[in-house]
Protein backbone atom coordinates (compact mmCIF):
# COMPACT_ATOMS: atom_id res chain seq x y z
CA UNK A 1 0.00 0.00 0.00
CA UNK A 2 1.41 3.40 -0.94
CA UNK A 3 2.51 5.73 1.80
CA UNK A 4 2.01 9.43 1.29
CA UNK A 5 3.18 12.34 3.41
CA UNK A 6 1.02 15.45 3.36
CA UNK A 7 2.35 18.46 5.26
CA UNK A 8 4.51 16.11 7.29
CA UNK A 9 1.70 13.71 8.22
CA UNK A 10 2.19 10.23 6.79
CA UNK A 11 -0.73 7.99 5.93
CA UNK A 12 -1.04 4.65 4.17
CA UNK A 13 -3.84 4.49 1.63
CA UNK A 14 -5.25 2.15 -1.03
CA UNK A 15 -3.50 2.28 -4.40
CA UNK A 16 -5.23 4.69 -6.76
CA UNK A 17 -6.45 7.03 -4.02
CA UNK A 18 -6.13 10.67 -4.94
CA UNK A 19 -4.12 13.11 -2.86
CA UNK A 20 -7.37 14.85 -1.93
CA UNK A 21 -8.91 11.69 -0.50
CA UNK A 22 -5.70 10.82 1.32
CA UNK A 23 -5.73 14.29 2.88
CA UNK A 24 -9.38 13.91 3.82
CA UNK A 25 -8.51 10.66 5.57
CA UNK A 26 -6.04 12.60 7.71
CA UNK A 27 -8.56 15.41 8.11
CA UNK A 28 -8.05 18.78 9.74
CA UNK A 29 -6.76 21.97 8.21
CA UNK A 30 -4.44 20.36 5.69
CA UNK A 31 -7.33 19.17 3.49
CA UNK A 32 -7.22 21.17 0.26
CA UNK A 33 -10.45 23.05 -0.47
CA UNK A 34 -12.60 21.80 -3.33
CA UNK A 35 -15.11 23.67 -5.42
CA UNK A 36 -15.75 21.20 -8.23
CA UNK A 37 -14.67 17.82 -6.83
CA UNK A 38 -17.50 15.84 -5.22
CA UNK A 39 -16.55 12.42 -3.92
CA UNK A 40 -19.91 10.79 -4.59
CA UNK A 41 -20.17 12.05 -8.17
CA UNK A 42 -17.99 10.09 -10.56
CA UNK A 43 -15.55 11.92 -12.86
CA UNK A 44 -16.11 15.23 -11.03
CA UNK A 45 -13.10 17.39 -10.26
CA UNK A 46 -10.18 18.96 -12.03
CA UNK A 47 -11.95 22.13 -13.07
CA UNK A 48 -11.76 24.77 -10.39
CA UNK A 49 -8.03 24.48 -9.54
CA UNK A 50 -8.39 25.57 -5.92
CA UNK A 51 -7.18 22.17 -4.70
CA UNK A 52 -3.76 22.45 -6.36
CA UNK A 53 -0.92 21.21 -4.13
CA UNK A 54 2.83 21.07 -4.44
CA UNK A 55 4.34 17.60 -4.87
CA UNK A 56 7.89 17.94 -3.55
CA UNK A 57 8.77 14.29 -4.11
CA UNK A 58 7.09 12.24 -6.81
CA UNK A 59 7.64 8.78 -5.37
CA UNK A 60 10.30 6.51 -3.90
CA UNK A 61 11.16 5.28 -7.39
CA UNK A 62 11.49 8.75 -8.87
CA UNK A 63 12.21 11.29 -6.19
CA UNK A 64 12.08 14.33 -8.47
CA UNK A 65 9.53 16.97 -7.52
CA UNK A 66 6.68 17.62 -9.93
CA UNK A 67 7.52 20.90 -11.69
CA UNK A 68 4.01 22.29 -11.63
CA UNK A 69 1.38 22.30 -8.94
CA UNK A 70 -0.94 19.30 -9.16
CA UNK A 71 -4.71 19.14 -8.80
CA UNK A 72 -5.05 17.00 -5.69
CA UNK A 73 -8.53 15.80 -6.59
CA UNK A 74 -7.33 13.90 -9.66
CA UNK A 75 -3.70 13.04 -8.93
CA UNK A 76 -3.30 9.51 -7.56
CA UNK A 77 -0.79 8.99 -4.78
CA UNK A 78 2.47 7.09 -5.34
CA UNK A 79 4.45 5.23 -2.74
CA UNK A 80 6.70 7.65 -0.87
CA UNK A 81 5.06 10.76 -2.32
CA UNK A 82 5.54 13.96 -0.38
CA UNK A 83 2.94 16.67 -0.71
CA UNK A 84 2.90 20.20 0.63
CA UNK A 85 -0.33 22.11 0.99
CA UNK A 86 -0.47 24.53 3.91
CA UNK A 87 3.30 24.54 4.34
CA UNK A 88 3.97 25.62 0.77
CA UNK A 89 3.99 29.37 0.12
CA UNK A 90 3.70 28.63 -3.58
CA UNK A 91 0.37 26.88 -3.03
CA UNK A 92 -0.96 29.64 -0.83
CA UNK A 93 0.04 32.23 -3.40
CA UNK A 94 -1.56 30.24 -6.21
CA UNK A 95 -4.78 29.75 -4.28
CA UNK A 96 -5.10 33.45 -3.74
CA UNK A 97 -4.80 33.89 -7.48
CA UNK A 98 -7.35 31.18 -8.25
CA UNK A 99 -9.85 32.71 -5.85
CA UNK A 100 -9.36 36.04 -7.55
CA UNK A 101 -10.09 34.36 -10.85
CA UNK A 102 -13.21 32.67 -9.50
CA UNK A 103 -14.43 36.00 -8.17
CA UNK A 104 -13.91 37.84 -11.45
CA UNK A 105 -17.41 37.20 -12.67
CA UNK A 106 -19.01 36.40 -9.34
CA UNK A 107 -21.35 39.15 -8.20
CA UNK A 108 -21.01 40.52 -4.68
CA UNK A 109 -24.60 39.80 -3.77
CA UNK A 110 -23.99 37.69 -0.67
CA UNK A 111 -26.49 39.83 1.29
CA UNK A 112 -29.19 38.68 -1.12
CA UNK A 113 -27.96 35.18 -1.91
CA UNK A 114 -29.65 32.30 -0.07
CA UNK A 115 -26.40 30.34 -0.03
CA UNK A 116 -24.62 32.90 2.15
CA UNK A 117 -23.42 31.30 5.36
CA UNK A 118 -22.91 27.88 3.82
CA UNK A 119 -21.17 28.89 0.61
CA UNK A 120 -17.85 27.34 -0.35
CA UNK A 121 -16.78 30.35 -2.34
CA UNK A 122 -17.58 32.67 0.55
CA UNK A 123 -15.37 30.62 2.87
CA UNK A 124 -12.65 30.45 0.28
CA UNK A 125 -12.61 34.17 -0.40
CA UNK A 126 -12.68 34.82 3.34
CA UNK A 127 -9.66 32.57 3.73
CA UNK A 128 -7.61 33.41 0.67
CA UNK A 129 -9.24 36.29 -1.15
CA UNK A 130 -8.15 39.86 -1.22
CA UNK A 131 -10.65 42.56 -0.34
CA UNK A 132 -10.24 44.49 -3.57
CA UNK A 133 -10.60 43.42 -7.18
CA UNK A 134 -8.20 44.28 -9.98
CA UNK A 135 -10.74 43.44 -12.63
CA UNK A 136 -11.73 46.53 -14.56
CA UNK A 137 -13.79 45.01 -17.37
CA UNK A 138 -17.49 44.45 -17.20
CA UNK A 139 -18.65 41.33 -15.39
CA UNK A 140 -20.76 38.91 -17.34
CA UNK A 141 -24.37 38.99 -16.23
CA UNK A 142 -27.38 36.84 -16.94
CA UNK A 143 -31.04 37.10 -16.14
CA UNK A 144 -32.22 34.63 -13.55
CA UNK A 145 -33.82 31.54 -15.01
CA UNK A 146 -36.45 29.22 -13.56
CA UNK A 147 -35.44 25.61 -13.99
CA UNK A 148 -38.77 24.02 -13.26
CA UNK A 149 -41.02 25.55 -10.64
CA UNK A 150 -38.76 24.64 -7.71
CA UNK A 151 -35.23 25.54 -8.78
CA UNK A 152 -33.92 29.00 -9.52
CA UNK A 153 -30.78 29.37 -11.59
CA UNK A 154 -28.66 32.48 -11.10
CA UNK A 155 -26.17 31.99 -13.87
CA UNK A 156 -24.30 35.12 -12.78
CA UNK A 157 -23.20 33.36 -9.60
CA UNK A 158 -22.16 30.13 -11.33
CA UNK A 159 -18.49 29.15 -11.30
CA UNK A 160 -18.96 26.32 -13.84
CA UNK A 161 -17.97 23.44 -11.58
CA UNK A 162 -20.20 21.03 -13.54
CA UNK A 163 -21.35 19.30 -10.35
CA UNK A 164 -25.03 19.77 -11.17
CA UNK A 165 -24.66 18.23 -14.60
CA UNK A 166 -23.04 15.19 -13.00
CA UNK A 167 -25.99 14.91 -10.65
CA UNK A 168 -28.29 15.02 -13.62
CA UNK A 169 -26.19 12.44 -15.46
CA UNK A 170 -25.67 10.03 -12.62
CA UNK A 171 -28.77 10.36 -10.48
CA UNK A 172 -31.54 11.02 -12.92
CA UNK A 173 -32.27 9.21 -16.15
CA UNK A 174 -32.37 11.50 -19.16
CA UNK A 175 -30.50 14.72 -18.53
CA UNK A 176 -32.16 17.81 -19.89
CA UNK A 177 -29.68 20.45 -18.83
CA UNK A 178 -26.02 21.01 -19.39
CA UNK A 179 -23.35 23.53 -20.18
CA UNK A 180 -23.74 25.26 -23.50
CA UNK A 181 -21.31 27.51 -25.36
CA UNK A 182 -17.61 27.70 -24.64
CA UNK A 183 -15.03 29.72 -22.76
CA UNK A 184 -16.23 32.97 -21.32
CA UNK A 185 -19.67 32.44 -22.83
CA UNK A 186 -20.21 29.03 -21.22
CA UNK A 187 -23.39 28.78 -19.19
CA UNK A 188 -25.59 26.21 -17.51
CA UNK A 189 -28.88 25.98 -19.28
CA UNK A 190 -31.78 23.73 -19.86
CA UNK A 191 -32.05 23.25 -23.56
CA UNK A 192 -34.63 25.84 -24.66
CA UNK A 193 -35.81 26.29 -21.07
CA UNK A 194 -36.84 22.69 -20.58
CA UNK A 195 -38.05 22.10 -17.09
CA UNK A 196 -36.01 19.74 -14.98
CA UNK A 197 -38.78 17.67 -13.48
CA UNK A 198 -37.15 14.53 -12.29
CA UNK A 199 -37.60 12.96 -8.86
CA UNK A 200 -33.98 13.52 -7.83
CA UNK A 201 -33.33 16.80 -9.62
CA UNK A 202 -33.40 18.79 -6.37
CA UNK A 203 -29.99 17.42 -5.44
CA UNK A 204 -28.50 19.89 -7.88
CA UNK A 205 -29.19 22.51 -5.23
CA UNK A 206 -27.24 20.60 -2.61
CA UNK A 207 -24.19 19.97 -4.73
CA UNK A 208 -23.93 23.56 -5.97
CA UNK A 209 -20.93 25.09 -4.15
CA UNK A 210 -22.23 28.62 -4.70
CA UNK A 211 -25.71 30.11 -4.82
CA UNK A 212 -26.27 29.51 -8.52
CA UNK A 213 -28.93 26.88 -7.95
CA UNK A 214 -31.27 27.66 -5.09
CA UNK A 215 -34.44 26.21 -3.67
CA UNK A 216 -37.41 28.31 -4.76
CA UNK A 217 -39.55 27.12 -1.85
CA UNK A 218 -36.93 28.63 0.48
CA UNK A 219 -36.16 31.67 -1.62
CA UNK A 220 -35.69 34.72 0.63
CA UNK A 221 -37.63 32.97 3.43
CA UNK A 222 -34.91 33.28 6.02
CA UNK A 223 -31.17 33.23 6.44
CA UNK A 224 -29.33 30.03 7.31
CA UNK A 225 -27.98 31.46 10.54
CA UNK A 226 -31.46 32.11 11.89
CA UNK A 227 -32.39 28.47 11.43
CA UNK A 228 -31.43 25.45 13.45
CA UNK A 229 -30.51 22.28 11.55
CA UNK A 230 -31.91 19.00 12.86
CA UNK A 231 -31.33 15.51 11.54
CA UNK A 232 -34.64 13.90 10.64
CA UNK A 233 -35.93 10.89 8.74
CA UNK A 234 -39.15 9.53 7.30
CA UNK A 235 -40.16 6.49 5.30
CA UNK A 236 -39.88 7.35 1.64
CA UNK A 237 -40.09 4.88 -1.23
CA UNK A 238 -38.16 7.07 -3.60
CA UNK A 239 -35.14 7.87 -1.48
CA UNK A 240 -33.41 7.06 1.79
CA UNK A 241 -35.54 9.62 3.66
CA UNK A 242 -32.60 10.76 5.78
CA UNK A 243 -32.42 14.53 5.67
CA UNK A 244 -31.55 17.69 7.58
CA UNK A 245 -34.51 19.90 8.35
CA UNK A 246 -33.86 23.58 8.98
CA UNK A 247 -36.22 24.84 11.61
CA UNK A 248 -37.23 28.15 13.11
CA UNK A 249 -39.00 27.25 16.32
CA UNK A 250 -41.43 24.52 15.33
CA UNK A 251 -41.61 25.48 11.68
CA UNK A 252 -39.63 23.72 8.96
CA UNK A 253 -38.22 26.28 6.55
CA UNK A 254 -36.34 23.97 4.26
CA UNK A 255 -35.14 20.41 3.85
CA UNK A 256 -31.66 19.53 2.59
CA UNK A 257 -29.57 16.42 2.46
CA UNK A 258 -27.12 15.73 5.26
CA UNK A 259 -23.75 17.23 4.60
CA UNK A 260 -20.43 16.29 6.16
CA UNK A 261 -17.48 18.54 7.00
CA UNK A 262 -16.47 18.66 3.34
CA UNK A 263 -19.95 19.99 2.45
CA UNK A 264 -20.72 16.75 0.64
CA UNK A 265 -23.71 14.49 1.08
CA UNK A 266 -23.14 11.91 3.81
CA UNK A 267 -22.92 8.26 2.86
CA UNK A 268 -24.08 5.09 4.57
CA UNK A 269 -21.72 2.19 5.42
CA UNK A 270 -21.74 0.94 1.84
CA UNK A 271 -20.78 4.30 0.41
CA UNK A 272 -24.28 4.99 -0.86
CA UNK A 273 -24.90 8.74 -0.60
CA UNK A 274 -28.03 10.05 1.12
CA UNK A 275 -29.41 11.93 -1.86
CA UNK A 276 -33.03 12.85 -1.31
CA UNK A 277 -36.05 13.04 -3.58
CA UNK A 278 -38.01 16.12 -4.50
CA UNK A 279 -41.03 15.11 -2.47
CA UNK A 280 -38.99 15.07 0.74
CA UNK A 281 -37.26 18.28 -0.20
CA UNK A 282 -40.12 20.49 -1.30
CA UNK A 283 -43.40 19.08 -0.07
CA UNK A 284 -42.78 17.79 3.43
CA UNK A 285 -42.57 21.01 5.40
CA UNK A 286 -44.70 19.89 8.32
CA UNK A 287 -42.98 18.92 11.54
CA UNK A 288 -45.27 15.88 11.88
CA UNK A 289 -43.96 14.42 8.62
CA UNK A 290 -40.57 13.85 10.14
CA UNK A 291 -39.04 11.95 13.02
CA UNK A 292 -36.51 14.40 14.42
CA UNK A 293 -33.34 12.78 15.68
CA UNK A 294 -31.42 15.69 17.12
CA UNK A 295 -29.50 18.88 16.46
CA UNK A 296 -27.00 18.63 13.64
CA UNK A 297 -23.51 19.69 14.72
CA UNK A 298 -21.87 22.24 12.48
CA UNK A 299 -18.24 23.24 12.37
CA UNK A 300 -17.30 25.42 15.29
CA UNK A 301 -16.59 28.46 13.14
CA UNK A 302 -19.80 28.21 11.14
CA UNK A 303 -22.22 31.13 11.33
CA UNK A 304 -25.04 28.57 11.41
CA UNK A 305 -24.25 28.03 15.09
CA UNK A 306 -25.67 31.51 15.70
CA UNK A 307 -29.19 30.12 15.35
CA UNK A 308 -30.65 30.09 18.80
CA UNK A 309 -34.18 29.02 18.04
CA UNK A 310 -34.65 25.57 19.53
CA UNK A 311 -37.59 23.22 19.53
CA UNK A 312 -40.07 23.61 22.37
CA UNK A 313 -38.92 21.61 25.32
CA UNK A 314 -41.39 19.22 26.89
CA UNK A 315 -42.47 19.71 30.46
CA UNK A 316 -40.77 17.29 32.78
CA UNK A 317 -43.13 15.64 35.27
CA UNK A 318 -41.41 13.94 38.17
CA UNK A 319 -43.11 10.71 39.04
CA UNK A 320 -43.41 11.22 42.80
CA UNK A 321 -45.95 12.05 45.46
CA UNK A 322 -46.95 15.67 44.74
CA UNK A 323 -46.99 16.32 48.49
CA UNK A 324 -43.28 15.62 48.48
CA UNK A 325 -42.47 19.16 47.43
CA UNK A 326 -45.30 20.61 49.43
CA UNK A 327 -44.21 19.69 52.95
CA UNK A 328 -46.17 18.80 56.04
CA UNK A 329 -49.16 20.84 57.03
CA UNK A 330 -47.71 21.97 60.33
CA UNK A 331 -44.48 23.01 58.60
CA UNK A 332 -46.34 25.04 56.05
CA UNK A 333 -47.58 27.43 58.71
CA UNK A 334 -44.08 28.69 59.29
CA UNK A 335 -43.54 29.53 55.64
CA UNK A 336 -44.12 33.19 54.98
CA UNK A 337 -45.81 32.43 51.67
CA UNK A 338 -48.47 30.25 53.22
CA UNK A 339 -51.21 32.67 52.23
CA UNK A 340 -50.36 32.47 48.55
CA UNK A 341 -52.72 30.39 46.49
CA UNK A 342 -51.18 27.07 45.63
CA UNK A 343 -52.74 25.06 42.85
CA UNK A 344 -52.73 21.60 44.35
CA UNK A 345 -55.69 19.36 43.80
CA UNK A 346 -54.66 16.92 46.50
CA UNK A 347 -55.30 19.56 49.12
Amino acid sequence: MPKVTIDGVTIEVEPGTTIMNAARKIGGDLVPPAMCYYSTLKTSGGKCRVCLVEVTKGSDANSNPMPKLQASCCTPVMDGMEVKNLTSPRVQDMRQGVVEFLLINHPLDCPICDQAGECDLQDLSFGYGVSGSRYKEERRTFDKIDIGDKIQLHMTRCILCYRCTYVADQLTPGRVHGVIDRGDAAEISTYIQHAVDNEMSGNMIDVCPVGALTDKTFRFKSRVWFLKPFDAHRDCEKCCGKVTVWMFGNEIYRVTSRKNVFREVECDENGQPFFICNECRYDKKDKNDWVIEGVRKKEEWSVINQGKYMLDTEKVIIDADPRLSFGRKEDRKAISMVNLKVDNKQE
Binding site: P111, F220, R223, W225, F226
Partner: protein, 176 residues
Protein backbone atom coordinates in the same frame (compact mmCIF):
# COMPACT_ATOMS: atom_id res chain seq x y z
CA UNK B 1 -33.42 40.93 83.80
CA UNK B 2 -34.01 41.45 80.12
CA UNK B 3 -31.68 44.07 78.63
CA UNK B 4 -33.23 46.97 76.86
CA UNK B 5 -33.23 46.57 73.09
CA UNK B 6 -31.86 50.09 72.72
CA UNK B 7 -28.63 49.19 74.45
CA UNK B 8 -27.84 46.09 72.41
CA UNK B 9 -25.27 46.59 69.70
CA UNK B 10 -25.32 43.75 67.19
CA UNK B 11 -22.69 45.28 64.98
CA UNK B 12 -20.53 46.42 67.85
CA UNK B 13 -20.35 49.88 66.37
CA UNK B 14 -23.30 51.45 68.08
CA UNK B 15 -22.41 54.71 69.77
CA UNK B 16 -24.48 56.97 71.88
CA UNK B 17 -24.82 60.49 70.51
CA UNK B 18 -23.69 63.16 72.92
CA UNK B 19 -25.76 66.28 73.23
CA UNK B 20 -23.38 69.19 73.62
CA UNK B 21 -24.59 72.50 74.81
CA UNK B 22 -24.49 75.21 72.11
CA UNK B 23 -22.46 78.37 72.57
CA UNK B 24 -24.10 81.81 72.59
CA UNK B 25 -23.14 82.47 68.93
CA UNK B 26 -24.72 79.23 67.91
CA UNK B 27 -27.77 79.90 69.93
CA UNK B 28 -28.72 83.19 68.23
CA UNK B 29 -28.60 81.47 64.79
CA UNK B 30 -28.24 84.74 62.88
CA UNK B 31 -24.65 84.26 61.62
CA UNK B 32 -25.52 80.81 60.36
CA UNK B 33 -28.58 82.14 58.53
CA UNK B 34 -26.46 84.84 56.89
CA UNK B 35 -23.90 82.24 55.86
CA UNK B 36 -26.58 80.05 54.28
CA UNK B 37 -28.21 82.95 52.45
CA UNK B 38 -24.77 83.91 51.15
CA UNK B 39 -24.45 80.53 49.45
CA UNK B 40 -27.93 80.87 47.97
CA UNK B 41 -27.20 84.36 46.65
CA UNK B 42 -23.93 83.25 45.14
CA UNK B 43 -25.83 80.76 43.00
CA UNK B 44 -27.98 83.55 41.53
CA UNK B 45 -24.98 84.83 39.60
CA UNK B 46 -23.61 81.45 38.55
CA UNK B 47 -24.14 79.88 35.10
CA UNK B 48 -27.37 77.88 34.97
CA UNK B 49 -26.98 74.14 34.75
CA UNK B 50 -30.49 73.53 33.42
CA UNK B 51 -31.94 74.36 30.02
CA UNK B 52 -35.51 74.93 28.78
CA UNK B 53 -35.66 71.49 27.20
CA UNK B 54 -38.11 71.37 24.33
CA UNK B 55 -37.19 74.88 23.15
CA UNK B 56 -33.51 74.57 23.75
CA UNK B 57 -31.65 71.36 23.04
CA UNK B 58 -28.32 70.26 24.34
CA UNK B 59 -25.62 69.53 21.86
CA UNK B 60 -25.05 65.82 21.43
CA UNK B 61 -21.69 64.19 21.27
CA UNK B 62 -20.65 63.66 17.64
CA UNK B 63 -20.67 59.89 18.23
CA UNK B 64 -24.06 59.85 19.93
CA UNK B 65 -26.15 56.83 18.98
CA UNK B 66 -29.92 57.25 19.08
CA UNK B 67 -32.93 56.07 17.14
CA UNK B 68 -32.23 54.00 14.03
CA UNK B 69 -33.03 55.01 10.49
CA UNK B 70 -33.27 52.86 7.38
CA UNK B 71 -31.70 54.89 4.62
CA UNK B 72 -32.82 55.43 1.08
CA UNK B 73 -30.38 55.66 -1.79
CA UNK B 74 -29.87 58.66 -4.06
CA UNK B 75 -33.01 57.73 -6.04
CA UNK B 76 -35.17 57.35 -2.96
CA UNK B 77 -35.24 53.54 -3.04
CA UNK B 78 -34.80 51.56 0.16
CA UNK B 79 -31.32 50.26 0.61
CA UNK B 80 -32.04 47.40 3.02
CA UNK B 81 -31.96 43.95 1.44
CA UNK B 82 -32.94 42.03 4.61
CA UNK B 83 -29.67 40.15 4.68
CA UNK B 84 -30.02 39.59 8.41
CA UNK B 85 -26.48 40.62 9.31
CA UNK B 86 -27.70 43.33 11.67
CA UNK B 87 -29.94 40.83 13.44
CA UNK B 88 -27.14 38.32 13.83
CA UNK B 89 -24.74 41.03 15.02
CA UNK B 90 -27.26 42.42 17.52
CA UNK B 91 -26.17 41.39 21.02
CA UNK B 92 -29.57 42.25 22.47
CA UNK B 93 -31.49 40.35 19.77
CA UNK B 94 -33.68 43.36 19.21
CA UNK B 95 -33.98 43.13 15.43
CA UNK B 96 -36.33 40.90 13.46
CA UNK B 97 -37.12 40.97 9.79
CA UNK B 98 -39.02 39.21 7.05
CA UNK B 99 -37.66 39.32 3.52
CA UNK B 100 -39.65 39.51 0.32
CA UNK B 101 -38.90 39.49 -3.35
CA UNK B 102 -39.24 42.66 -5.37
CA UNK B 103 -41.90 42.48 -8.04
CA UNK B 104 -41.42 43.97 -11.51
CA UNK B 105 -42.32 47.64 -11.41
CA UNK B 106 -41.10 48.21 -7.85
CA UNK B 107 -37.55 49.08 -8.89
CA UNK B 108 -38.02 52.64 -7.68
CA UNK B 109 -39.10 51.50 -4.24
CA UNK B 110 -36.42 48.95 -3.45
CA UNK B 111 -32.89 49.05 -4.72
CA UNK B 112 -32.24 45.31 -4.99
CA UNK B 113 -34.31 42.26 -5.82
CA UNK B 114 -34.78 41.39 -2.17
CA UNK B 115 -36.13 43.76 0.43
CA UNK B 116 -37.41 43.73 3.99
CA UNK B 117 -41.19 43.55 4.05
CA UNK B 118 -41.14 43.63 7.84
CA UNK B 119 -38.31 45.20 9.79
CA UNK B 120 -38.76 45.64 13.50
CA UNK B 121 -36.50 46.90 16.23
CA UNK B 122 -37.56 46.51 19.82
CA UNK B 123 -36.32 49.74 21.33
CA UNK B 124 -36.73 48.36 24.84
CA UNK B 125 -34.26 45.61 24.05
CA UNK B 126 -31.90 47.75 22.00
CA UNK B 127 -28.77 48.86 23.82
CA UNK B 128 -27.72 51.35 21.10
CA UNK B 129 -24.33 49.75 20.66
CA UNK B 130 -24.26 50.46 16.93
CA UNK B 131 -23.16 46.98 15.90
CA UNK B 132 -26.03 46.80 13.38
CA UNK B 133 -24.65 49.91 11.72
CA UNK B 134 -21.23 48.30 11.54
CA UNK B 135 -22.53 44.98 10.22
CA UNK B 136 -24.66 46.45 7.45
CA UNK B 137 -23.11 45.69 4.05
CA UNK B 138 -25.46 48.02 2.21
CA UNK B 139 -25.07 51.18 4.34
CA UNK B 140 -28.77 50.91 5.05
CA UNK B 141 -29.09 51.27 8.82
CA UNK B 142 -27.73 54.21 10.75
CA UNK B 143 -28.14 55.42 14.29
CA UNK B 144 -29.29 59.03 14.37
CA UNK B 145 -29.15 61.73 17.00
CA UNK B 146 -32.88 61.45 17.65
CA UNK B 147 -34.19 60.19 20.94
CA UNK B 148 -36.74 57.44 21.43
CA UNK B 149 -40.06 59.04 22.28
CA UNK B 150 -41.71 57.97 25.52
CA UNK B 151 -44.77 55.80 25.21
CA UNK B 152 -47.40 54.29 27.46
CA UNK B 153 -47.33 50.76 26.07
CA UNK B 154 -44.55 48.27 25.49
CA UNK B 155 -45.85 47.64 21.98
CA UNK B 156 -45.28 51.28 21.17
CA UNK B 157 -41.54 50.72 21.46
CA UNK B 158 -41.45 48.08 18.75
CA UNK B 159 -40.54 50.26 15.81
CA UNK B 160 -41.62 48.97 12.43
CA UNK B 161 -40.74 50.18 8.99
CA UNK B 162 -43.24 53.04 9.33
CA UNK B 163 -41.04 54.64 11.98
CA UNK B 164 -37.63 53.45 10.83
CA UNK B 165 -37.51 54.11 7.10
CA UNK B 166 -36.23 57.54 6.21
CA UNK B 167 -39.26 59.65 5.18
CA UNK B 168 -39.31 60.49 1.51
CA UNK B 169 -39.72 64.21 2.26
CA UNK B 170 -36.39 64.21 4.10
CA UNK B 171 -34.76 62.56 1.13
CA UNK B 172 -36.17 65.12 -1.28
CA UNK B 173 -34.95 67.92 0.94
CA UNK B 174 -31.48 66.45 1.12
CA UNK B 175 -31.26 66.17 -2.65
CA UNK B 176 -32.15 69.88 -2.95
Amino acid sequence: MATDIKSISLSGRKKEVSVKEMTFMEKIYLPEIAKGMGITLRHFFKKKVTINYPEEKREFSPVYRGRHILMRDENGAERCVACGLCAVACPAEAITMVAAERKPGEEGLYREEKYASVYEINMLRCIFCGLCEEACPKDAIYLTEDLIKPDFTREGFIYGKDKLVMPLEDKIEKIK
